[in-house]
């Protein structure tokens, strides 16, 4: 066990004593209490800092999942609709009748086959893409302006201001051309010839 001898720090004994006196200071009485309070604050902040970060991270992940699902459910029907429209386009380019200009709103002429009645049928319903939730407005079949014009026409017809001719019956020829109906021609009825040996009563013969 060796004796502990303080080290002379500075140049002389007087300097040594002056330096020791200058450093023989103690912090204020509340210093340790302040340090304890600061340490406690750091502990609380460190402990409470965990959960908000975790909550924010969880919320961010949840939001990302929701956005991803929304994007995915929006894109899938569009892709299906795109494929369907491609199919329709291919069909249209390969079908000669479909190139005709007689396609009316929502209706199209059926492919004509010789000997078959020409029919007008509902156009093949296009495979509609599943609408997004934001596109839930009903489909407009008759626009407002057309409906208004139709109402005015009906009103004028009821009031007798407009005379609408009867619809002409139309037919198609073999080439699919629409023609007006020809008047029916009935041939004259010829008198029936009497059989041989049969007496024919003629009007006025009794009078002879």
């Amino acid at each position: 066990m060796t004796a502990r001898a303080p080290v002379p720090p500075a140049g002389s004994d007087g300097d040594l004593q002056a330096l020791r006196d200058a450093l023989a200071l103690t912090p204020s009485p509340e210093f340790v209490a302040r340090v304890r309070e600061r340490v406690r604050f750091e502990q609380v902040r460190a402990a409470s800092g965990w959960w908000p970060k975790l909550a924010v991270a969880g919320a961010a992940v949840g939001l990302a999942v929701i956005v991803g699902l929304a994007v995915w459910t929006g894109q899938a029907p569009r892709q299906r609709a795109g494929q369907a429209s491609d199919r329709r386009a291919r069909t249209a380019t390969t079908s000669p009748e479909s190139a005709g200009s007689d396609r009316v709103r929502g209706f199209s002429r059926a492919p004509h086959t010789p000997g078959s009645r020409s029919t007008v049928r509902r156009a093949e319903a296009a495979p509609r893409s599943r609408p997004l939730r934001a596109e839930r407005t009903p489909e407009v079949l008759v626009p407002d302006d057309e409906r208004h014009a139709l109402d005015r026409l009906l009103l004028a017809m009821r009031q007798g201001r407009v005379v609408v001719p009867a619809p002409r019956q139309v037919l198609e020829d073999e080439n699919g051309q629409m023609l007006a109906l020809r008047p029916i021609e009935i041939p004259l009825i010829r008198p029936i010839e009497p059989l041989p040996g049969m007496a024919v009563e003629r009007p006025g013969s009794k009078e002879r």
């Binding site: 080290v7 002379p8 500075a10 140049g11 200058a22 200071l25 750091e42």
Partner: protein
């Protein structure tokens, strides 16, 4: 599963309590040392307390990771010293504060003797400030709390022979400066 989590939580809490108690003991025995180290650089009580407080808080943050708890004082001294140097570098009003806060050394003395003593201490601090950093901290720690060579070597983590050599060099420079 729930029991396991509870036991783990209790174990962690017990460990935290033990750590807190140990740190409390270290805080009581080492707070003055941290303050004096900071003061030896800053020579301003309030600044020294702020820096020492920051050093102790950092020590608490890293206390769990400190494997050799006997090295706590050395660790604290180095942290307080570094923080004080950084603080002084960033403090532009240092010179004005130094002039205003040269500590009153001898309470027994008065009048002309006190002025002479303060002047001498001021010159001594300026000479110590001019020392290279490695020599300066050795001088300060040796003058603090009656530390011997072994303790200074322990605080700085250097061999005792190195402390002796640095002290010898510092004394030579100080003698030249104060002559």
């Amino acid at each position: 599963m729930h029991d396991t989590v509870e036991r783990l939580s209790e174990g962690l809490l017990i460990e935290d309590d033990a750590l807190d108690r140990e740190f409390e003991a270290r805080l009581v025995e080492s707070s003055t040392l941290a303050f004096r180290v900071a003061y030896s650089v800053l020579r301003h009580r309030q600044d020294a307390e702020d820096v020492a407080q920051e050093a102790l808080v950092r020590a608490h943050r890293g206390f769990r990771r400190l494997r050799d708890r006997t090295r706590f004082r050395a660790w604290l001294v180095r942290t307080a010293w570094r923080l004080a140097l950084d603080f002084r570098r960033g403090e532009r009003r240092r010179i004005a504060r130094e002039q205003a806060s040269v500590p009153p050394v001898a309470t027994r003395e008065s009048g002309e003797e006190a002025v002479i003593a303060n002047e001498r201490v001021g010159r001594l601090w300026r000479a110590i400030d001019d020392l290279p950093e490695k020599l300066r901290i050795v001088v300060v720690l040796a003058a603090m709390e009656g530390h011997d060579v072994q303790e200074v070597a322990g605080l700085l983590g250097v061999p005792p022979g190195t402390v002796k050599w640095r002290l010898f060099s510092a004394r030579q420079i100080l003698t030249e400066s104060l002559r």
